[in-house]
Each structure stands twice: as C-alpha cells, then as structure tokens.
C-alpha cells in the first residue's frame, strides 16, 4: 500500500492541542439536542439524557481526535505544505509567492483558549486556499510574519502596490467621465425592467408578513369575483388592457426614478493607475478599479438601445471585487464614440475590429436546436388544441434567427487581445487581454466532432464572465491555431515582464 511521502516528518507541525478541547466544547450543543429529544422533557430523566450525551460525545470524540492527529503543516522558504485526511489523504502545496493574504481570526471562545484561525488566500477564489484550524495565537502571528518576510523580495508583493506607472510621478486625479442627468434618465427609460411587478410582489409579501392577509383575501376573493362575473366580455377586455397599460406605465416611471437614484452624479476619475467610480443619490456607491487588475471588458447593448445609439461598458476584475460588485459599470449608458474613447485612451483597445465568422454550418446547428425546442413546444400545445399546428408557419423565422445570430457571432485575436462579439438581442463585445489568460479549453460535443467543429473557452481570474468568453463552432484547426496565437501572445507578454 503505497502512500504519499513527506519530505521530512520532523519539519511538520501539528495544530495546537487545545483544538481538541475547542472542538469538544463546540460539539456539546449539537450533542445535547439529540439527548434532549431522546431523553424526553422532564429533568427527572436526567440520567438517560446524560447517557445519550455521553454516547454522542463518544462517537464524535474519536473523529475529532483522528482528524487532529492526521493533520500537519510545514512552512519553508519555498512553500506552505498541508497534509490532512484520515482515510482519504490530501496534500496541498502553496508556493509562498502565490500567497496574497494571510488572515488571522479569533472568535470569543478561541480567544479564551488562546487559539486562532489562520486563513491563507491566493489569487482567484475568495475561499481561502488553506485554513489552519487552530493554532496558538503566537504561532499564527509568527506564521504571518514569516510569510511576509519570505515575500518581501518577490514581485508579488510589489505588484500588490498597484501603481505601475512610474513611482516618480505625483498622482494627479484626471476626470474621465461625468454622466449627464439627461443620459441617466434615458438609461432609466430604456431599461424595461418589470419594476411594477417586482414592486407589487414585494409589497404583497410585506403586507402578508404584517398580518394583512385577511384583508387581502377579502379583496381578492369575495368582492372581485362577484364583480368580474357581472362584467361583459368587452368590459373585461377594456379593464384588463387599461390595467396592463397602467402597470407598464408605472413600471416605466418607477424604473426611471430608481435609475436616477442609482446613477445620480455618476462620475469617474483616473488616478495612479486606478479608475475611481462614484455614483448614487440616496445610496452612494464608491469603488476603485485597478486597471492592471481588469480581466475582461464588456461592451453591451440591445436592439432598442442601439436604435438610440447607446452602449454600456463594464469590466470585471480579479476575484475579490466580483463578489461585492458584480459587474463594474464604467459607462452605464453612453455613445459608441465615448466608449471607444475610453477604451482606447485608458485600456489601449477598440472594439471596432474585423471580426471573423465561425463555421457556416453553425447556422444549421443553431436552427436545428431551435427547431427542437420550438417543435416540442408546439407538440405540447397541440395536446390542448390542434389549432397550434399553425405555429409551424413560424419555422422559417427560426432559420432567419439562426442566421442572424451566426452573423453576429465573431472573433479575432489582434494586438494581444482576443475580441468576441456575440448576441442578437443581448449584444455584447467582449475583450480579453491575452496576458489575463489563466486556462483555456477546446471542447467538442459528439455532434461537433462529426462536423469537425469545436468551442473555444478562455478562463481568466474573473468569476462572472466564464460563460461569455466562449467562441462557438470553430473549425477544429482554427481553434488550435487560435490557441497557438494566444500562447504566443501570452509568452511574449511574460518575456516583457521579465525584461523589466
């Protein structure tokens, strides 16, 4: 039975033995509950309950002890190494240079016992890559100090101080963009979110919570149904139409107001390699986007916005920001010229490129998948009424849809950036700097393999954009060519970095 070897047993340290005590104590509450349930209610049955408690603890304790004994960690100037696991073993190695953050936390009980939790974070996932639960407070501080010292010579620490633009410059704030109130209103007008519905649903549930259920029931059931039955067909139609129109209008107005509240005084400043964004009326948002940390750029629009010449520019940065901010909008709504101005000046690219199309057979593939969905819908509806067979008339429309979507889907790699254009109704142009490449995947389904096609995914440190950074239905050879070019651009960038 071959198992993993560790470099030297002596170097490895165990967690603090007080962890056992801590775990035992924290497990008592969860042991009491089954004891209480089984033992019955009266304290007269004290003997039975304490027996159950003991039994549960007897089961839990070996597990606690085993996990304690099978957990060890070691740190040296190259990496932090953790070996854990009783039956299934896990050996994790984290190079020191990759550690971005060391957090030490203590809750009340841990403080009393002198224990601390150490969380080690690297780039990417928010969840800590390693958690030491629990070491002595002193050991935790020692560990953090050691890691900091070991990193003091490395590039990583330098890159955490963001300014890459030349330390000698005195950072001066530069106005990038101020969103005019006119544009904010237009943005609200073009959003078409079903605000009244959402607001109505929210109001409804709040009223329910505060015990207005009876009144609601009364209104909804008795009176209304009696009245409804009294109406004729036309009257009903009129009432319904008017009702819907009122809902739409109020939704629209509400949306405009909410948008004004959200983006009031939207303002971007550039300083020291970062874009500082501020906006909001009653609730203000204030955040900074480090340009060097931006992973993905997205310019979005839809047919209605496009009619008015409006686009939005959003970015996604590595890990931490995405959790809190989601999409960071740099331009919630503006003209294409303004977008291009910003992207060219601050990020060095423009989305106006010569996009290449993917394989033409993609049109057929899309059409077939739409047909299947639509066909199933018609088939299901036909159970109700064969009249729905007339829906088949719309099939040619599906083909046109497929063709149009195919036309919009394009890509190109140019000047170290990958551009992907996509979408007919939700239109987007995604830009990924080759240097942000983390991983890439070329995948082919059974059907694609038969046709010699593949999908090309690029993964960056951005969390939300995974699904957007895909090129569909490329000829297989082209996919590999693209990868080769990506590799080349990536290597070139790293060479330049080293040269610095």
């Amino acid at each position: 039975m071959r198992t993993m070897q560790e470099d030297s047993f002596d170097d490895y340290k165990k967690l603090s033995p007080k962890t056992l005590l801590y775990r035992l104590i924290t497990n008592i509450p969860s042991a009491i509950i089954p004891a209480w349930i089984v033992g019955g209610n009266g304290l007269a049955e004290f003997g039975k309950e304490s027996l159950i408690l003991l039994l549960v603890l007897m089961v839990v304790t070996p597990s606690i002890m085993l996990h304690y004994f099978f957990y060890k960690y070691r740190i040296n100037e190259r990496d932090l190494s953790i070996i854990s696991g009783v039956f299934a073993k896990k050996h994790r190695t984290i190079p020191i240079e990759k550690i971005q953050n060391v957090r030490i936390e203590q809750n009340f009980l841990q403080k009393m016992l002198g224990l601390a939790k150490v969380e080690i974070e690297t780039a990417g996932d928010i969840a800590a890559e390693a958690k030491l639960e629990f070491v002595n407070k002193e050991s935790a501080e020692e560990l953090k100090l050691m890691i900091n010292n070991l990193q003091s010579d490395t590039f990583t620490k330098q890159s955490l101080n963001d300014s890459d633009l030349g330390q000698t410059q005195i950072p001066v704030a530069e106005d990038v963009y101020k969103m005019p109130l006119k544009d904010i209103i237009k943005h609200g007008m073009l959003r078409f979110r079903p605000m009244t519905l959402i607001f109505g649903a929210w109001a409804f549930s709040t009223l329910q919570q505060f015990g207005f259920q009876d009144q609601i029931d009364k209104i909804v059931t008795e009176d209304s149904i009696l009245q409804l039955e009294a109406l004729s067909g036309t009257e009903l139609a009129i009432y319904v139409t008017v009702g819907v129109l009122i809902a739409l209008l109020s939704s629209w107005i509400l949306d405009i107001l909410l948008t004004i509240n959200q983006f009031y005084n939207f303002n971007i400043e550039f300083k020291d390699g970062k874009l500082f964004v501020k906006h909001g009326l009653f609730v203000t948002k204030n955040y900074a986007s480090t340009i060097k940390k931006i992973q993905v750029f997205a310019v979005r629009t839809n047919p209605i916005r496009r009619l008015f010449g409006f686009f939005s520019l959003a970015v996604e940065s590595a890990g931490t920001n995405a959790e809190k901010l989601g999409r960071e909008y740099l331009l919630p709504l503006s003209t294409l010229d303004k977008v291009s101005e910003l992207t060219t000046k601050y990020f060095g690219f423009s989305i106006e490129q010569d996009y290449k199309n993917t394989a033409r057979v993609s049109i057929r593939r899309r059409f077939v998948s739409y047909l299947i969905v639509y066909g199933s819908l018609i088939a299901a509806l036909c159970f109700a009424d064969l009249y729905f067979l007339l829906g088949l008339v719309l099939v040619p429309l599906l083909y046109l849809l497929a063709k149009a979507e195919y036309g919009r889907h394009g890509y190109i790699i140019s000047a170290d950036k990958i551009y992907i254009r996509n979408g007919l109704f939700f239109q987007s142009s995604i830009t990924i700097p080759a240097e942000k490449y983390q991983a890439c995947e070329i995948s082919s389904s059974i059907f694609q393999r038969r046709l010699g096609l593949a999908d090309f995914h690029i993964y960056t440190a951005a969390m939300l954009s995974d699904d957007a950074c895909v090129i569909h239905d490329l000829p297989l050879a082209e996919a590999w060519e693209l990868k080769a070019e990506l590799d080349k651009a990536f290597k070139e960038h790293r060479r330049k970095l080293k040269g610095k």
Binding site: M1, R2, T3, M4, Q5, R78, D79, G85, F87, A88, K89, K90, H91, R92, T93, I94, P95, E97, K98, T122, A123, G124, D125, E129, A130, T154, F155, T156, S159, K292, K293, Q295, A318, G319, K436, Y437, Q438, A439, C440, E441, I442, S443, S444, S445, I446, R449, Y459, T460, A461, M463, D466, K483, D487, F490, K491, R494, L497
Partner: protein, 157 residues
C-alpha cells in the same frame, strides 16, 4: 500525451459500482415501502423499473471505465499542462505553468490501495479552470509537483 495508470479503471469501476448498489438499494426499498402502502400485495411489475435501472447502472460500471480510460490523456510540458478527457463532450484543457496557484496531491480510500493519487492544479480562475488528473502513481505525482513548484514564478494576475 500520456495515459493514466491502468488501475484507475478499477477505481472508477468501484465508484460506479458503489453508486449502482446505493441507488439500487434506495429504489428497491422505496418501491417496497410505497408499494406496500398503496397496494395490497406487491406485484412483480413494480420491480421492473428499479431492476432495469440497477442493471443499467451495473453495465455503466463495467463499460464506462474502459471508455474513459481510452480517452483520458495528459501532457506535462515545461511551459504548460494539458489534459484531454470526456466521452460525450471531448475537452482539451490547458494551463500555463506560471498560472498555477497551488497544487494538491490527494488520495481517496481506493486510490491508496493501488498506490495512485490525484493531482490537482489550481489557477486563479473558477473551478472549471482547474486541472484534475486522476490515476497517477503517487511518486510520479509528487515528482511532478516538485518540478512544477520550481517552475512557478512570481505572478501578476
């Protein structure tokens, strides 16, 4: 491209077998409990569906490991690591060595019996951007890990 250690087929088969047994047990037990509540006696028809499903799962346990093994391949170069896998959807994933954030070498219970391990290379991307290679002899996985550790450079995300 290199193949995985052939013992991985057995490990996979055990996994599928365990699933087949568990699901089969659940199906049969629920069949018995529900059937006895709804009907007077348990007819043999009720058992057809659970039996078919269990048989299919057992066939899966016997066949899939071979198919997966045929496709699974990996390559460890000095600048990047690639893997190829997938039956229905064939996936070819690669990561540059400099993007590796940390490395796991794990052994499940069955892995230990055969002296195999699973190498996991994490990048700064989401879970989908991680590379997981099962069925590697422990010494080999550890040697790869040690070599990669030296190749990983300080990195800017």
């Amino acid at each position: 491209m290199n193949k995985l250690n052939s013992d991985i087929k057995l490990i996979w088969a055990f996994g599928y077998l365990a699933q087949a047994i568990v699901i089969g047990a659940i199906l049969f037990v629920s069949e018995i409990t529900f059937a006895s509540e709804m009907f007077e006696e348990i007819s043999s028809i009720g058992f057809v569906v659970p039996s078919i499903i269990t048989v299919l799962l057992l066939i899966r346990a016997g066949v899939l490991p071979f198919l997966h093994y045929k496709i699974w391949a990996f390559e460890i170069k000095d600048d990047e690591i690639c893997i190829e896998r997938g039956l229905l959807v064939r996936r070819n994933t690669s990561i540059p060595v400099v993007r590796i954030q940390h490395i796991d070498v794990n052994q499940g219970i069955f892995d230990r019996m055969f002296g195999l391990s699973r190498l996991i290379l994490f990048t700064a991307g989401t879970k989908r951007a991680d590379l997981r290679i099962p069925g590697l002899p422990v010494e080999y996985a550890e040697a790869v890990r040690d070599r990669l550790k030296n190749l990983i450079v300080e990195d800017v995300v």
